[in-house]
């Protein structure tokens, strides 16, 4: 049973007012979901909506943990290194280690060639 009609308003703008305005664009979330793998073919209408909430909570948690690192450094500006530290210090964020280390590789530090 197609749910497109019911969710098209939510998927297109998120301002349908049914579940309230969404902080994150649902169409973009759906696009990212589709890129996660070849076998992701069909996504129910509610999945991006759930993700919009989950992502919001994820961002909040990551930001809170990063801010703690910022405060430990007695600073008031949250830098990407603080995000990297928070990721490394949190077990369940292991899947992000490559993301933050790639960000670090693009920093102003002189690139180090690792020979393995």
């Amino acid at each position: 049973m197609r749910q497109a009609g019911m969710y098209s308003g939510i998927l297109n703008g998120g301002m349908s007012g049914r579940t309230g305005p969404h902080l994150l664009p649902l169409a973009r979330i759906k696009k990212i979901m589709k890129r996660s793998g070849e076998d992701v073919k069909m996504i129910s209408g509610e999945a991006p909506i759930i993700f919009s909430k989950a992502c919001e909570l994820f961002i909040e948690e990551l930001t809170q943990r990063s801010w703690k690192v910022t405060l430990q450094g007695k600073r008031r500006t949250l830098h990407k290194e603080d995000v990297a530290s928070a990721v490394i210090a949190t077990d369940v964020f292991d899947f992000l280690v490559n993301v933050v280390s790639e960000s670090g590789a693009n920093s102003e530090d002189t690139p180090v060639v690792m020979e393995r």
Binding site: Q3, M6, R18, T19, L23, L24, P25, R28, I29, K31, I32, M33, R35, S36, G37, D39, V40, K41, M42, I43, S44, E46, A47, I49, I50, F51, K53, A54, C55, E56, L57, F58, I59, E60, E61, L62, T63, Q64, S66, W67, T70, R76, T77, L78, H79, K80, D82, V83, A84, V87, D91, V92, F95, L96, V99, V100, S103
Partner: protein, 140 residues
């Protein structure tokens, strides 16, 4: 690359969510927002991959909100599972109000710490007495 940009959530939205959790005098560098942007995309892909694997194993073609909730729990990213599940119920209730649908989804895996009463089917226990006649007794 336009293709790469499509894989990220808008930096303005990400930045806004970050700001709303931080104290008013906090500042966030642009690079930090970009890093969080990339982390969120990876989060979506990671959780979706897990949910999609489950669907494939169960021979289902559609990744549902339930699958996302399950994957969040399975990956240990369910600190806020209750909030997310409440949100899912809210969404589903709004769907239910326009079409009749029986049977709530089973969230036992997420509500492990909080034993709520999920409706269980009536168990009928067939009792046969010495005369051979039988009756059904409800197993409470």
């Amino acid at each position: 690359m336009a293709d790469e940009q499509d894989l990220l959530l808008p930096i303005a939205n990400v930045g806004r969510i970050m700001k709303q959790i931080l104290p008013p005098n906090a500042k966030v560098s642009k690079e930090a927002k970009e890093t969080v942007q990339e982390c969120v995309s990876e989060f979506v892909k990671f959780v979706t991959g897990e949910a999609s694997d489950k669907c494939r194993k169960e021979n289902r073609r559609t990744v549902t909100g339930d699958d996302i909730c399950w994957a969040l729990s399975a990956l240990g990213l369910d600190n806020h599972a209750e909030a997310i599940v409440r949100y899912l119920h809210k969404v589903q209730n709004e769907v239910d109000s326009t079409r009749t649908k029986s049977g709530a989804s089973d969230y036992k895996c997420i509500q492990a710490g909080k034993q709520t009463e999920t409706p269980t089917p009536l168990l009928l226990f067939k009792v046969t007495d010495q005369n051979g006649s039988s009756s059904f007794t409800k197993l409470s």
